[in-house]
Symmetry: C2
Subunit: 425 residues, 2 copies
């Protein structure tokens, strides 16, 4: 990267210091900084303590061009990020009437009443750029001085992320000469170490664009970022690398758009083909449907879902045969298959997904250990069943099963249409 | 707290600095330190860079009694936590034969061959306490000097956590005089700021035990930690404070056990009363069932669940009357109520929970804005419906609705049994 601006992240709050919340804000901001080509050498966590925060902030201002603080903008006496930052940057606080009105309006919107201490949140450092909070009460701000940029953001992730997207990202982009353009190649169904091995040569020879891999539950994301004089130049540099990644990973790539989730990719595929969908879940107990339904617009396609956790409900609701359950058991290829087909018949839909497995910690046996999950996908009459062996806690096994189920839906729909096209030729 | 030892956590690694992984190690170690009554004032993240790591470590040694470093114990040239720590503490590295044998044995166990650079992992600082790694190759160590304790742990969480449990926790306990005992009072249905106002006097006058509040989605958790000569003494000190909190928050307290989640509390209540349960979800689309089914042992009670996302499925599967849907709409008190009752009849269960609402971002109207959610709970013939107005993203609205649904189940079951008891008198 040609960009030499450095950034330091300071997370303020006792909750992080005491381990009660995991510092996802720092991870989010770090990823965003990487995307912009900013170099981050330090992250700090410090409590709501004037002396220690002053000390940490002064050091950060000294060693970085941009300091992003998160947290400590709340209404209580404890919250002093604004007070300390104003002091370090030689500013006073004043009551900002626009922010005061915005806070009052927020309370009207949520049908609650502000308390006296809420107005503290409208006290802003003199001469700062105010960042409106469209998801809460605390405005953020940017204090600039002497080539240094101190950015204050609220702690709740949904407020921080929206404010970053609306105000901070455009601001940071304005500081950078040239442009960074990045694509996220998202892969499902290939393990992390296998994926890294498959692109080792590309990672080792990277300069511009750079390539970075991120592991998610059952997924690997590869960020390709290029620096160029303008967006077109940067974009041009990413293209051959993204193309190469798509060739190496084939159908395992489900998107190259950062904002598209796996469930979004599945729903897009369903909507594009005017299919209808239903779910029938045992071990994942509603989580596959839960992820699909998180996609806005899914109501066009989603018919209904069943959670058939007991054998009786598998029989009664989904029409799984008693003989199948008796002979093969609830956790079996055959039961999964009958669940998927039964659901398709019941809900009269084109695509169904069925899960049945042993999430643990109990219920395993030598034949059917904890972590064994069968996933069946029905697409327009054809059922495909996959056997999986997952590791870890009950929650981890279930989450891995959900991802595998969404991926199977994707693959089965793609396969159905590729066979159809092939057959027509 | 009477214990004055302080600890600082340093996470070493570019992956955290770039946001590729979330810093769960720091959260784990921070929680464990709080449990032991150690005060943590700073956490740092720094890359595998000699100058910056030396700087960060020297500062930490200066301002804390105990410094715990994680990461950078790998076999590559990049990994230099041991080298830097030895230098800062005035030690040389030597080849530790015991660690070398342990590494060789580990490779035999996992059926792989060590590479030459793996032996670097057996180079240890002179005079240190070696911490065996029973889940990987890199041993950890403790370097003691002049009342300072520098503890080096491997980065992979499953290695770090096992090594902490086996070696570090007993070591830290040996440094501490007396014991810390803590209880977590978990509250649902009272907002964070209201909860804080309700116990402001207790927070302000706290010394031993200390009181700290933590906000979760729809929940507030209050940790009460006391320091005493032994566990019995510490426990005795927490008792009146926990009792006072229970009195102030009444039925909103769902547990005082750190490890019990809201869904666990609901399932415990269901199992204790030998009830059976079913779910019927529209806007939460499977997530209520998903949380309930995350509780091991729920299979005793959970009969089945429905996701009736479309109006048709509400009618066909759950028996909601067409006239109800036509007159009041899918998002209404009446529909929620019929869903809950319909599900109870269909699945023949004692308790059902129904959700219907507008999760957004589209689909809202002035009468029925985005965020409006009706939740109905059926308990043995009686249906209770609550109207909620949630804010934020689609995901946030849905998650808040799930927590509210679980809490309504808890309250309705408690109320049913209290009325029954009262009626008997």
């Amino acid at each position: 990267m040609d960009n030499k601006l450095t950034v330091e992240l300071i997370s303020v709050g006792t909750e992080i210091l005491m381990g009660n919340i995991i510092n996802t804000n720092a991870a989010f901001l770090a990823r965003e900084c990487v995307k912009l080509g900013l170099s981050c050498y330090y992250q700090d966590v410090v409590g709501d303590n004037e002396g220690r925060l002053t000390d940490t902030l002064n050091r950060a201002i000294d060693r970085a061009d941009i300091v992003i603080l998160s947290g400590g903008l709340g209404p209580t006496q404890d919250d002093l990020t604004k007070e300390v930052s104003a002091k370090c940057m030689g500013r006073k606080l004043y009551m900002d009437e626009t922010s005061k009105i915005a806070i009052a309006e927020y309370f009207v919107k949520v049908g609650k009443s502000p308390t006296d201490n809420n107005w503290k949140q409208a006290m802003m450092p003199e001469g700062c750029i105010i960042l409106p909070n469209n998801n809460g009460t605390a405005p953020g701000c940017i204090i600039e001085d002497n080539g240094k940029h101190v950015i204050l953001l609220p702690g709740p992730p949904e407020e921080l992320e929206l404010m970053y997207r609306e105000s901070v990202e455009p601001y940071l982009k304005s500081l950078i000469s040239g442009t960074i353009y990045s694509k996220m190649v998202k892969i499902c169904g290939v393990g992390e170490s296998k994926a890294e091995t498959m692109i080792k040569d590309m990672i080792e020879s990277q300069t511009n664009p750079t390539i970075a891999t991120y592991a998610k539950t059952g997924e690997v994301h590869i960020r390709v970022s290029a620096y160029g004089e303008d967006e077109a130049a940067a974009k041009k540099l990413t293209k051959p690398v993204v193309k190469e990644l798509k060739e190496r990973f084939g159908n395992s790539v489900y998107t190259t758009d950062e904002n598209v989730t796996l469930e979004q990719a599945v729903v897009d595929l369903i909507l594009a083909n005017e299919l209808t969908v239903g779910t029938i879940e045992s071990c994942t107990g509603g989580l596959v449907a839960g992820r699909l339904i998180n996609v806005p617009g899914v109501s066009e396609a989603f018919k209904s879902g069943l959670i058939t956790y007991s054998n009786k409900s598998k029989r009664k609701l989904a029409g799984v045969k008693k003989s199948t359950l008796d002979k093969y058991g609830a956790v079996s290829r055959q039961t999964a298959s009958e669940m998927a087909a039964g659901m398709a018949a019941l809900a009269k839909c084109d695509v169904t997904i069925a899960t049945t497995g042993i999430a643990g910690p109990d219920g395993g046996s030598p034949d059917k250990p904890v972590g064994l999950v069968y996933i069946a996908c029905f697409v327009c009459g054809k059922v495909t069943v996959k056997e999986h062996h997952f590791n870890g806690s009950r929650a981890k096994i279930r989450n891995n099963a959900v991802t595998a189920a969404l991926n199977l839906m994707r693959n089965c729909i793609l396969e159905y249409y590729s066979e159809k096209t092939f057959g027509k030729k």
